[in-house]
Amino acid sequence: MWLKFEQRTEPSPLMSYLSPAIAVGLMLVSGMALFYVLGRNPFAGFKIFFLNPVKDWYGVSELLLKATPLMLCAVGLSVGFRANVWNIGAEGQFLMGALAAGGVALHFPDSTSPFLLPGMVLAGALGGMAWAAIPAWLRTRFNANEILTSLMLVYVAQLVVSWLVHGPWKDPEGFNFPQTQMFQAKALLPVLVEGNRVNVALFIGMGALLIAWVFMNRSFLGFQMKVAGQAENAGRYAGFSSKRTIWLGMLAGGALAGIAGMSEVAGPVGQITEHISPGYGFAAMIVAFVGRLTPIGIFFSSLLLALLYVGGEQVQQHMQLPSAISNVFQGMLLFFLLASDVFINFRLRRLARRQ
């Protein structure tokens, strides 16, 4: 080895912003290599995956539509991740939020109340929080690892959804398909521009970004969370409650994932089925990391991950490749990001040749 890593005296702020760009670059290069290996023209692949989706306004609106749940989930997760609270069960919290909100919509099929939608948002948040409260409680009370418990609850949530749509909540006039009735018009989020599907949930997402920014940068509680993540012992010495950190981190993630779930069932899906989420809760973790756990970063990285979803669909349509290619790209992106992050704290130094 002629090269070795040497610790920087201070983390490089430049690298921490450059690293996502490097990761995206590496992802593009290896993605094109992947197209080549699969016997497709890499440049055509690039064009179909990354440019076609945004070539017109409708494409952009679809991108924003998909970015919304990612943004919501990721901003909630980032609050916990900053404090080293590893909530990886956002997918389950998303589903429970969708169920709670959907339950409200199905329970009031004839309501014309203006409070129906706000009630659904609230129900979604509470549903997600309830599901996130389980790992938070198990962690603070019994010291059970929240990574494993929150993830196990994803599978349980999927089974709960499956049970409800196959059983008690199944649409009696739905030709036996595992799905609920379509929600009534008053229980659907209004779209922003007629003819597009992107809806007001986008503003909820932006609002969440703003609140998260204020919370993390301008509040004492947010400061405590940061300290807990970066210097646990210092936080403990200063008397910051680690239990509160865990609860706050988990509940913030749960609430926003639940609202994201609500925005899907009351938005593009319009009912509850077994396939309300194409893995948004997992992709949101990548969004949070690529966005450097900052609200502004998350805004851009949610667009990027949304592009990976839309691009995957395009590739499926036009190149006959499975849309699971999106997940391959997502995984690559996270790996490259983690790898290039080494340069934040380290630099490469050439070793003198041994004599």
């Binding site: 198990l138 059970a144 690892n145 196990m152 349980v156 997940n327 391959v328 995984g331 080494v342």
Partner: protein, 310 residues
């Protein structure tokens, strides 16, 4: 409850527990070296799809298992490079490996989706197979079931009775000290991660070649994560991995128990299917409740990156 039923329940429990034992023991060795690899789900998925493809096209199950093993090792290298050489956060790297592995398996496996194989033929062990009840349940099993028992003995012997095993544990408990007396910490951790990847790959191969003989996206269904939980449940001791795996195996075939009880239970199948996940949470709670138990038994440097010469 008839004896035959008891036998078939035991048989199914062993079958369901076997991939958890194999993947769990692999993860145990990895964690004993101080590396927390949360990517078992991804490695199992990739191992499964590789094994399935080879079994589907060659009908050679031995080759298929080797392919699963190779695929698990290959993908674990991604984790190793990021987490060991580049010193990235191990939790994040493990998540990346899980997301990537599950996605890659779904992508590669798309053309093979829902294809099925002829299940491998069981191997009977002479004499032992004649034992009533236990014989047909334990000794007319698939080759990898026997492999899981041999693996248990081998891992226990390696960790506690051999010098390389002692070095591996030293690396996990006190990497700085191990480095100071001249052991290549990072290289040993690489080997431990590779071993974990190999075993996860074999466990994935077991799933597609012997357990369900078919490939469906998402069929690993959290077994990788349960294996990781199993290591905690076992407080990092090999024999307890086996015990725990059979307990979970029992949960996974809960449906059979319900039928066996003869009671017409009107329980939705989804409730029964959620049992293994709920059981995982329950055992984690029971084990972790005792904080000092976890602290004393988990490898001291678990999850910490190591940079030589600092």
């Amino acid at each position: 409850m008839g004896l035959e039923l008891l036998t078939s329940i035991l048989f199914a429990t062993v079958m369901a527990g076997t991939p958890l034992i194999i993947a769990g023991l692999g993860e145990l060795v990895t964690e004993k070296a101080g590396v927390l690899n949360l990517g078992v789900e991804g490695m199992m998925s990739v191992g499964a799809v590789a094994a399935f493809a080879v079994a589907f096209f060659t009908h050679n199950y031995f080759l298929a298992i080797l392919a699963g093993m190779g695929a698990g090792m290959a993908i674990s290298m991604l984790f190793a490079v990021a987490a060991l050489t580049l010193m990235a956060n191990q939790v994040a790297c493990g998540l990346a490996l899980s997301i990537f592995g599950v996605g890659l398996a779904a992508f590669v496996g798309k053309p093979l989706e829902s294809m099925s194989l002829k299940a491998g033929t069981p191997i009977a062990i002479p004499l032992l197979e004649k034992i009533p009840v236990l014989g047909p349940a334990l000794f007319q099993q698939q080759s990898l079931v026997y492999f899981s028992w041999v693996l248990l003995a081998a891992v226990a012997w390696f960790l506690y009775r051999s010098k390389p095993g002692l070095v591996l544990r030293a690396v996990g408990e006190a990497p700085v000290a191990a480095h100071a007396i001249g052991y290549p910490v990072v290289r040993i951790r690489y080997l431990a991660v590779l071993f974990g990847g190999a075993m996860a790959g074999v466990a994935g191969a077991f799933m597609v070649v012997f357990y369900t003989p078919l490939w469906v996206e998402g069929m690993i269904a959290g077994r990788g994560w349960i294996s990781i939980a199993l290591v905690v449940f076992a407080t990092w001791r090999p024999l307890r991995v086996l015990v725990g795996a059979y307990l979970f195996g029992g949960c996974m075939i809960a449906q059979m128990f319900v039928q066996a009880s003869g009671v017409e239970l009107n329980v939705p199948s989804q409730w029964l299917s959620s049992l293994p996940y709920l059981a995982t949470i329950l055992v984690l709670v029971l084990i972790s409740r005792n904080r000092s138990n976890i602290r004393l038994n988990s490898p001291a440097s678990l999850g910490q990156p190591f940079l030589p010469d600092v």
